[in-house]
Amino acid sequence: MAGTERAGRVRRFASENSLSLFFLAIFLAALVGQAIAGHKLYNQEQLAHDAEPIGFWAYVTSSNFGNAVMENWQSEYLQFLLFMLATVWLLQRGSPESKPIGEEGAESDRKQRVGGWAGPEAPQWARVRGIRNWVYSNSLLVVMAVIFLGSWFAQSVTGWTDFNSEQRAHGKATVSWLSYVGSARFWESTLQNWQSEFLAVGSFAVLAIYLRQRGSPESKPVGAPHKTTGTER
C-alpha cells in the first residue's frame, strides 16, 4: 500500500515538474557530451604539440572546459534578461511575445496587484511598500543579471588562464586579466555568442506573428488573427 502511494507521489512529481526535469536531463546529457568531445579534442591538440594528454577529470576541472561552458551560459542569461527588460517597454504588433499595443511600461499597482491591490495569497513583499516591493518587483531581472555577470566573469578568468597557458606553451609572454578582457580573443568569443542569441530572440518574436504552434503558451492560439498582439485569448 505504502509502495503504491509512493509511486503515485513520484508520478505526480514527475508530471508537475516535467518541463524543468526534461531540460535538466538534456542539459546534463549535453554537458557530458561536450565534456567527452572537448576532452578528446584537447588531447588531440596536446599530442599535436608534443605535450602530454590529460585525464578526463583534469579536463572537466580545467579553464579550457570552464571557458567553453561559461561563454555560452553568459549569453543565454543576457538574452533572457534583455528580452524580459525590453518587453516591458518595447512592442511588436502581432507577436505573442509582446504586450498589447498601448500597454507598454511598468503598469499600474492595480494591474500588478501590489500594495493595497495585493490579494490574500500574494507574496509578502508584494503587499508591502518601499524598497522590499521594488526588490521583489525586479527580483527575476536582478537574479538573471547576477547570473549573467557571474558567468561572464567566469568566462573572462577561465579564458585568461587558458590563453596564458597557451602563451607559456609557445614560449610567449603572459598577459594580465585586464589586458585579456580588452583583447580581440575575449570579445570575439563573447560577441559570437551574443549575436546568435539576439538573432534567435528577435526572429522568434517576428515569426510568431504569422506562424503557430498548437498547444504552446509561446504561440498565439492557431485561430488567433495575425493582428492580435500579446497572449490575450
Binding site: S63, N64, V69, W73, G150, F153, D162
Partner: protein
Amino acid sequence: MNAPLPGYVRDMRLMFFTWIALITASIVFFSIVGLTHGWD
C-alpha cells in the same frame, strides 16, 4: 505549530533551489578555477 506544507509547495521549492544551486556552484567553481590558474 505550523501546518505541514503541501507536497507541491515542497516540490516547487526543491526545483527552485536545485537550479539556483546548480548554477551558482558552477559559476563559483569555474571562477575559482580561472582565478587560481586552474590545473591546466
